[in-house]
């Protein structure tokens, strides 16, 4: 007995493939969104992607992709906890497998970066894929000096940009991030930062890093270094404090990063003398505050370095690592007001920046120096753990 198909031609068609990927584009400008949609349409099969756009005019754009408008955040130029909650809700609603979040300025991302981020989640068993941007030297220096070395040393995760503007994650990671966002978001959800790498490590999920090439980093709303450093560093310190039981466990350090061809050293055009002058002024005036936070031998070394000529100024990697660890402990113990503490860190950070510029001007590749700093943080981790557990041992 043979059966005949009443509608010839339709039995051979496979059912339309279900969407697997959610792309949440946190962009405000319509032109920017248009470029992103064009890039996504070229990179992925249109039926496999759902785009959640934080733009009320997104539906008016002509694109083969399915676009879902979502609530727009309060105009911040970074991913907020609310974005993670939105992403998780939409992905759960459409039963998707992976989420790619694109921050402001994502139209400058290249196609392979998008493909790489999504592929790491869909094709490999990675839970969190972080981008590795190729930024010019002397860009994102707070990240290079504090965020990256601290994250790498404490959480043993390979993420050069722990506070990246774009990232991809699996559904279980989305659930975890949404839960964390619910805890972090207080009175003002836009005024909080979520640290996805730390969350992934705390949950025991796998983290990978994807080459993302160059990317335009938008200017933050707040251009004052004092406010930015206090906000970002304070947030990371708080997260580290909350996850103390996680990072105190011994972990195997991540595999060494293959440093790309040495980029051309940055010219010594930045005002090194200005920053060193600021460091000296702080050394002369902030001794009373620094002495509450830093041990005596660190103060002696800082005093010695303050007498060095600006062109020869260097901040040794292990000294910088100990300074950051001491400030982290003082933050934890509330030795002084936290606003004062982070304010007192700024001249030291500027000293590190001056040293970094001098090092790179002498021919060392910036990335090599930053990797050296991160290695020093790893080497000094026992000092942090010891002081965290026994804070009274000031001169350990």
């Amino acid at each position: 007995m043979t059966t005949t198909n009443p509608i010839p031609g339709q039995s051979t068609l496979a059912p339309p493939p279900a969407a697997q990927l959610l792309v949440l584009a946190s962009v405000a400008a319509l032109e920017e969104l248009e470029t992103i949609l064009a890039g996504l349409a070229e990179t992925f099969p249109p039926e496999s992607v759902i785009v959640a756009a934080q733009n009320e005019n997104a539906a008016s754009l002509r694109t083969p992709l399915r676009v879902v408008p979502v609530a727009q955040p309060g105009g911040t130029r970074r991913l907020t906890p609310g974005d993670y909650v939105n992403a998780c809700d939409i992905a759960r609603e459409h039963d998707l497998r992976a989420v790619v979040m694109l921050g402001p300025g994502a139209d400058s991302l290249r196609r392979p970066a998008l493909r790489g981020l999504a592929g790491a989640i869909l094709n490999a068993s990675t839970d969190l894929a972080m981008p590795l941007y190729a930024l010019p030297p002397n860009t994102g220096l707070i990240n290079s000096a504090i965020l990256y070395p601290l994250t790498r040393a404490l959480f043993a995760a390979r993420a050069r940009f722990p506070l990246a503007l774009d990232l991809a994650f699996s559904m279980r990671m989305a659930e975890r991030l949404a839960a964390a966002a619910g805890k972090v978001a207080g009175a003002d959800p836009d005024d909080a930062i979520l640290w996805p790498v730390n969350e992934a490590v705390a949950a025991g999920f796998s983290v990978d890093e994807i080459d993302a090439g160059p990317r335009e980093i938008p200017q933050p709303a707040e251009s004052d270094i004092n406010a930015i450093l206090a906000f970002v560093t304070g947030s990371l310190f708080s997260d580290i404090e909350a996850k103390a039981p996680v990072w105190q466990r011994p972990r195997r350090p991540p595999a060494l990063r293959r440093t790309s061809a040495p980029s051309s050293p940055a010219g010594n055009e930045a005002d090194v003398a200005h920053m060193v002058e600021g460091f000296r002024l702080a050394n002369a005036n902030l001794q009373e505050i620094w002495s509450l936070v830093l041990p005596p031998h660190t103060l002696v070394m800082l005093k010695r370095f303050s007498a060095v000529e600006p062109a020869a100024f260097r901040m040794p990697e292990n000294l910088w690592a100990r300074i950051v660890f001491d400030f982290l402990i003082a933050y934890h113990l509330r030795t002084i007001n936290r606003g004062h503490l982070l304010g007192a860190l700024i001249p030291l950070y500027l000293g590190w920046v001056a040293g970094h510029i001098n090092v790179t001007a002498s021919g060392t590749a910036p990335e090599r120096h930053i990797e050296g700093v991160a290695s020093a943080f790893e080497a000094e981790k026992p000092y942090l753990v010891a002081r965290w557990r026994w804070p009274d041992r000031f001169n350990a």
Partner: protein, 266 residues
Amino acid sequence: MQAASQNLPPIRNLTSIPANMDEGSVLHHMSDALHQSFYRVLTLLVAVLPGILAFIVALLVFSFIGMVVSFVLRRCLTWLKFDQRLAKKRGSDWAPTGSPTEIVARFSFWACVFLGLMIGVSAFDTSYATGTALPISLLPYFTHAVGAALLLVAGILIARFLARSVLISAVNAQLQYARILSLGVKWLVVVLTAAMVLDHLEVGGDIVELAFGILFGGIVLTLALAVGLGSRDLVSRSLESHVEHSGEHVHIPDDGSGEAKSIRHF
């Protein structure tokens, strides 16, 4: 002549001793006055002593009750894993010496001590009011002194906080006179506090107000001169460099290998 002088009464100090009194009666009067004054003081002490004792007993008893309550609360909250439950809800950004359990225990202890203090003062006040009608101004002055001490402590804490804030902000703005500015702010607040304390104690009257006005105005004038004249060039340079730095921008090259013209922190 000699006989006439023998008839005259002996020379006496007419201002201090009445003419009709002999030396024995003067001593008697002095002794009376001393006895009366001693009696008055003893009466006052007897009237106030129960109040003082009641104050001390109330404070001790309620301190002991506070210790017991604090101990019981600490044990109960630890047994209920209060800290862990709270950390699950809102994160665990607590200092080790300031865990929620510890805060609740301390709060209960100090609440009991405060209650004891209130009851003690009330008992003291009652015994004083009913004990005697002697005109003493000890109790009102004592309460004023406590208020003044609290004002002084608060003023010193605020002065220290503001001085540090100004010092750090001025150093980060690279102002060479950061320390002077910080000291100026500190002394402004200290002088203001001192004036408030003296006014609260009702000491000095108009002199305090006058002295405070002169000192406060002097400090403000000194700071204005230091900032406005002494460091005029420095301020303009600081402002210029601040404007230059806040307008920093970065050029992102296509190949990612070009040189940045300026630094960018974030």
